[in-house]
């Protein structure tokens, strides 16, 4: 479930969220759940979590790290940023609030300049123990620009004047970024090359949090700073106070509370001043958080049930989910929240028979989405997806009920409507509603072979496609190999059940722009699997075999939205979503998956962090007397 594994993909590409086998998931209906009553919640105790594997993509170095689980730890506990979120569930958790900054600024200079003033009294944790200044934020951006530091999502900051993410050589502390000014210790100004409506969201990502140069200058290789992260938040890595920074770089030994193959422990940061924060943003009930590695999934869930652990960062197995749902004592400890994530069947616009829009529409009608969701664990696993963006991405609209261009009874597919679409296709020469062209005889269908959720969905897709005369030939690969294959354009994969997409930050840019803009097409590591907007030169360069004359583009619709802000922006993205669903039809979206979490009886307050899709650590409270 909540194991989001992100890969940075270089250059212009935005993000691609790879969910490991572990990301199946399932919980109910995308509802949000917060339990307990904040008024009666007691402070103290330790929140104990286990995971099969940290799965960090950047060794927990905030400059690099691209894993949602790690973002949850940073934003709740360890790294404060200019702006942040309320660390709560649902659309409320996707709203920006000031954190280091005194307020959320309005842009000036036609949307190209942002000025921030920093709050007083926010200090780095031990052993640095000094007030945080604008230079420390600048240093974080210098690390994003730094060639050796390995920033995995640096491309988001290429809109800052003179910042070339991951491409500027030399000591990061000496890198000049003309687009960032620090006129005094409490002011930082960003100048952008173009109006960027979602720039503020990018300043709430952990890579932009302050980093003390006196420690981090020793760690300028990708991931190296991960074991020396100095806190700016309410908690710090246990043992941070023992870090010796007096004897230069060679005297520093990794902070003891983080052992990459064993555990990651957090304790309160003595320098944190709650008056600089808000209990709505971080309540900080527990005294500490321990995250330990336990490779046995069943063991983790058993321990949560026995109150020997208080939570898990782990994929819930179908039988465990069934057990939770049938037992009221357990069910009250199950928390199901929207994962801001869409799962879909992707169709390649250049490959027959999917180079015909009627075939793609027919596929949207014929697929039994209810049956696919059953393979995920039924309604608990999420809402049936009817279009591209999960409703939480656009402030709760449009929901599946509001916009469902390929509506079928009970989402179980409608063969008649599908055949009516197929009849209009050039591949149905006798107009009987079934593809009769030779291209439909054997169509390669790429799937994951190492995950029961995917292999259980496979027969449904194959049987449904057959109803309109398309014979899919499944090919199963392990998840990572399947992704690599799908992302290599010259493999010309016609149709695949492999991918899902999750947000990086709660703006549709990270969804639709990244996935459907022609500029996101790369020959290797491509995430625009359908090749929407493919140009003839790209086709040639990447080795596309097939007819590209009918490949539609969404560039115009997407470019329009990016400079906008506020409600105009949201409406623009919603319109782009509709355009893609009806005029391009690259996907059969089937599930907006939820994140399923279980707590022990000892957890007296639960909240979900909508931004990072994991525990709202700063809102969790425990009752130590109930812990085993």
């Amino acid at each position: 479930m909540s194991k989001k594994r992100y890969l940075g993909l270089g250059a212009l590409v935005l993000v691609f969220a790879l969910i490991a086998a572990a990301c199946g998931g399932g919980g109910g209906g995308g509802g949000t759940s917060a339990q307990g009553n904040a008024g009666n919640v007691k402070k103290g105790g330790t929140f104990r979590v286990a995971t099969e594997d940290f799965g960090f993509t950047g060794a927990f170095d905030p400059t690099d790290e691209y894993l949602g689980e790690a973002w949850g730890m940073y934003t709740n506990m360890l790294v404060r940023t200019l702006l942040t979120y309320k660390h709560t569930a649902g659309p409320a958790g996707n709203v920006l609030v000031p954190d280091l900054a005194t307020s959320v600024p309005q842009p000036t200079d036609g949307g190209k300049t942002y000025t921030f003033h920093l709050k007083n009294g926010i200090k780095f944790g031990p052993p640095v123990n000094r007030e945080i200044t604008s230079k420390d934020i600048l240093y974080a951006f210098q690390r994003i620009a730094c060639k050796t530091c390995g920033a995995e999502y640096g491309f988001y900051y290429s809109v800052i004047k003179g910042l070339k993410p991951g491409a500027m050589p030399g000591d990061p502390g000496k890198i000049k970024i003309p687009g960032i000014e620090t006129p005094d210790d409490k002011t930082i100004v960003f100048h952008l090359t173009q109006p960027t409506g979602d720039f503020l969201y990018r300043l709430a990502m952990p890579a932009t949090g302050p980093i003390p140069q006196e420690v981090a200058h020793c760690f300028t290789k990708a991931g190296d700073y991960g074991r020396y992260v100095i806190s700016s938040g309410p908690y710090m890595i246990a043992g941070s106070d023992k870090l010796n920074i007096k004897n230069g770089c060679s005297g520093m030994k990794p902070i003891s509370g983080y052992q990459p193959s064993k555990e990651l422990d957090f304790v309160r940061n003595p320098n944190y001043d709650p008056s600089t924060d808000s209990p709505d943003v971080r309540a900080n009930y527990v005294d500490g958080v321990t995250i330990t590695i336990d490779t046995n999934t069943k063991d983790i869930w058993n321990k949560v049930q026995q109150n020997a652990l208080d939570g898990e960062i782990s994929h819930i197995q179908p039988d465990t989910l069934a057990q939770y749902q049938s037992n009221p004592d357990l069910k009250k400890n199950l928390h199901i929240n929207s994962g801001d994530r869409t799962w879909y069947i992707t169709m390649n616009l250049t490959q027959p028979p999917f180079d015909d829009i009627h075939v793609r529409k027919a596929m949207n009608y014929v697929i039994d989405k209810q049956a696919l969701r059953k393979a995920w664990g039924g309604p608990a696993s999420g809402d049936i997806a009817t279009h591209i963006m999960p409703p939480t991405m656009t402030g709760g609209h449009p929901t599946a009920a509001e916009y469902d261009p390929y509506k079928t009874p009970n989402d179980q597919g409608d063969v008649q409507k599908a055949m009516a679409e197929m009849k209009q296709s050039k591949y149905d020469t006798n107009h009987d509603g079934k593809c009769d062209a030779s291209v439909c005889k054997r169509v390669l269908f790429l799937n994951r072979g190492d995950n029961p959720t995917w292999t259980n969905m496979e027969p449904t897709v194959v049987a449904d496609a057959k109803k309109i005369g398309i014979n899919l030939v499944p090919r199963e690969l392990a998840t990572s190999a399947a992704y690599t294959t799908l992302q290599t354009v010259n493999k010309n994969i016609p149709i695949s059940l492999v991918p899902g997409w999750g947000k990086d930050y709660p703006d549709p840019y990270t969804f639709v722009y990244t996935l459907f803009h022609s500029s996101s097409i790369l020959c290797q590591g491509n995430v625009n699997y359908s090749l929407v907007g493919l140009t003839p030169s790209q086709a040639k360069e990447c080795g596309v075999k097939g007819d590209i004359s009918n490949v539609p583009s969404a560039d115009k619709e997407l470019d329009k939205c990016e400079p906008l802000t506020g409600d105009q922006r949201t409406q623009c993205w919603v319109a782009a979503d509709k355009f893609i669903m009806e005029d391009i039809v690259p996907w059969v979206p089937y599930l907006w998956s939820s994140v399923i979490q279980a707590t022990s009886d000892a957890v007296t307050n639960f909240d979900f962090d909508q931004f990072s899709g994991t525990w709202a650590y700063s809102k969790i409270a425990v009752d130590p007397s109930k812990q085993q």
Binding site: Q317, P318, D319, L321, A322, Q323, Q325, D368, Q370, A371, R373, K374, A375, W376, G377, G378, P379, A380, R442, V443, L444, L446, G449, D450, P452, T455, N456, E458, P459, T460, V462, A463, V473, P474, R475, E476, L477, A478, A481, T485, K491, I493
Partner: protein
């Protein structure tokens, strides 16, 4: 074959009969059959294998004529709960449903076909390759023997699962699979058979080579050579018939390991695709469900154990009957 010696044993065992009927010559095969018949366990194994073969052959008749469910027919509305949990055995679904909502009885039945196909075809290829290469290595000796024997060592030392993963990954990205000469290797049964044959022939090859080495020194081979027989004739007409017994014994013993091998590959998702029922695949699916759907584990597991056990018993029986010098 130590014919005289074994005749003596038989005579001693059944002295009374022999005395009454007088000493009568028996062919090696008569002797084999006589000994094999005594081995009740081996006979049981044989009978079960024959029954499984019959079941595999008439699987379509049973599935369409009696239970009226196809192996890939989906019953996700009726046989899966709202939460996607499979429902257990009932009057229509004798073994319950699997996690995709298919009839597990029909899947297990068709799984017999898959297992036996893999067992017979992959073992057949392995025996063919192993016999030819073992004969050549053992008969010619010298540099040829060194080359072929070391090849066997190399194959035996290859990490077969990694190799299988590589092949499956390489051959899964195009509709044609990957070309090997005129053949196109597509994922599913062809790759499974290819991988299994590739990794099991050296076992036969070594046995055949060893036996050939000693047989090539025997008088009858020298006699044949002095009569001007060609190498090919000596190998295949003189030596080969003497190898039939060990080959038979060892192939019956690698059959069950090949069945398990197919199940393991399918368990790891490297074997046959969803559309082809396989016990290994069903067991792999069951590993996520067994606490709420025991039938998914029990039925394919039972058939897998039954089949491999039967082949093992048969193999043991064959060995005892064909080579009485190796006592139990």
């Amino acid at each position: 074959m130590g014919q005289t010696a074994s005749d003596a044993i038989v005579a001693a065992e059944h002295g009374a009969v022999v005395e009454q009927e007088g000493v009568r010559g028996r062919s090696p095969w008569q002797l084999f059959w006589y000994r094999f018949r005594q081995d009740k366990l081996a006979l049981t194994g044989l009978i079960i294998i024959v029954l499984l073969g019959v079941l595999a052959a008439i699987a379509p008749l049973i599935s369409h004529g009696i239970v009226h469910h196809g192996p890939n027919q989906l019953f996700s509305n009726t046989m899966l709960t709202q939460g996607g949990i499979p429902k257990g055995p009932n009057g229509q679904f004798w073994f319950g449903a699997d996690s995709a909502g298919r009839d597990l009885f029909v899947r297990v039945l068709y799984g017999t076909q898959t297992s036996l196909e893999v067992a017979v075809i992959a073992t057949g290829f392995a025996v063919l390759i192993g016999t030819v290469i073992g004969l050549i290595a053992g008969y010619f000796g010298g540099a040829i023997d060194t080359l072929l024997s070391r090849t066997m060592d190399v194959v035996l030392s290859m990490p077969l699962l990694l190799f299988a993963i590589g092949i499956v990954a390489a051959c899964s990205t195009t509709i044609q699979g990957c070309p090997i000469g005129p053949l196109h290797l597509t994922p599913g049964l062809p790759i499974v058979i290819f991988v299994i044959a590739l990794f099991s022939w050296p076992y036969i090859g070594r046995i055949v080579r060893g036996n050939t080495l000693s047989l090539a020194q025997k008088e009858f081979v020298e006699a044949a050579r002095s009569l001007g027989a060609s190498n090919a004739r000596i190998m295949f007409r003189e030596i080969f018939p003497n190898l039939v017994a060990p080959i038979l014994v060892y192939s019956s013993l690698i059959v069950p390991s090949n069945i398990i091998f197919e199940a393991s590959l399918s368990y790891l998702g490297l074997g046959v695709p969803q559309s082809i029922p396989s016990w290994g695949r069903e067991l792999s699916d069951a590993s996520d469900w067994f606490t709420v759907a025991w039938w998914m584990l029990v039925f394919p597991g039972f058939f897998l154990v039954l089949t491999t056990l039967s082949f093992n018993l048969l193999g043991d029986g064959l060995r005892d009957a064909l080579d009485p010098r190796t006592g139990r």
